[in-house]
Symmetry: C2
Subunit: 142 residues, 2 copies
DNA sequence: TTTCTAGATTAGAAACATTCTAAAATATTG
DNA sequence: CAATATTTTAGAATGTTTCTAATCTAGAAA
């Protein structure tokens, strides 16, 4: 990515501060990578590699810390779909996912394209925190 | 569990053979643990611990191998819901899950209690392999 | 500016779940 | 029983994530 404008950096800085986080060099770089482009599904490893490629020295531990902090602050959504690694989703709007069984790739499905019309009442003493719909897809053979 | 009857063991043996697997001591013990009781969501570690508790010597590698073989044979369904470990579900009927965000516990939701009325067409060249609905629930606070 | 300190970052170790390896054990067939 | 194809196994290896405790830094105060 080209050097981001002063304005964008100021925006990100303010956003971090609003979430109670110090706008450090590392957090700013990660926030830019995550939010500058459109919606993304990214793993910690991928984000770390991306930062390295841009010559932003960040340790993998910091990438993990930051992803979790951003998630706690409501800037990201953590997806636990394919087993193994966790994906972090920058799309915070109500939506669901196509999950490619072969590759593990995720693709957004706009929230209004899926309608869950019937849902059971949650068990006593609990409330529904969210409903995730995963449409598993495979290569069509023949 | 009490020593299973001859009949149950014969049933399981036949089932394994039907799936093209030799009915070994290990596979019979795991099949009994999995299918004797009602529906279960179990991890490899849990199943291994259960076998140990019953003094059935089985290595963890064999538990993994067997769970995957059973899944391939259509005797189990593998669930990739909470990140980290994989759950294996003995309930093969069409159904969905409550997922306790706190504990990671899974509870079945009968298939007919959830209706997904609208679904987008899958991307070109793919077909829908399945739709999983996870209802995330948390302790109600207040 | 300098100083102070709570908060942030880090390398590397540790903790995990899971898979792999290749040797030994076992089930089946003839 | 002998031959052979499968299966099991301990332990090593892999991959992801978390932990640790030392070092660094942003922001506040002097």
């Amino acid at each position: 990515m080209a050097t981001p404008s002063e304005k964008i950096i100021r925006d990100v800085t303010a956003r971090l501060r609003a979430a109670g986080m110090r706008p450090t060099r590392q957090r700013i770089a990660l926030a830019l990578a995550l939010f500058a482009k459109g919606d993304r599904h990214i793993t910690a490893e991928q984000l770390h590699a991306e930062a390295q490629a841009q010559h932003v020295g960040i340790s993998l531990a910091t990438v993990y810390n930051t992803l979790h902090q951003f998630t706690r602050a409501g800037l990201l959504r953590e997806l636990a779909i394919g087993s193994g690694r966790s994906y972090f989703d920058t799309n915070l709007s109500h939506h669901h996912h196509f999950f490619y069984e072969g590759s593990g790739q995720l693709v957004d499905v706009a929230g209004d394209l899926v309608k869950v019309s019937t849902v059971p009442a949650p068990p006593k003493g609990t409330r529904v925190a969210g409903i995730d719909v995963v449409i598993r897809i495979t290569e069509r053979n023949r």
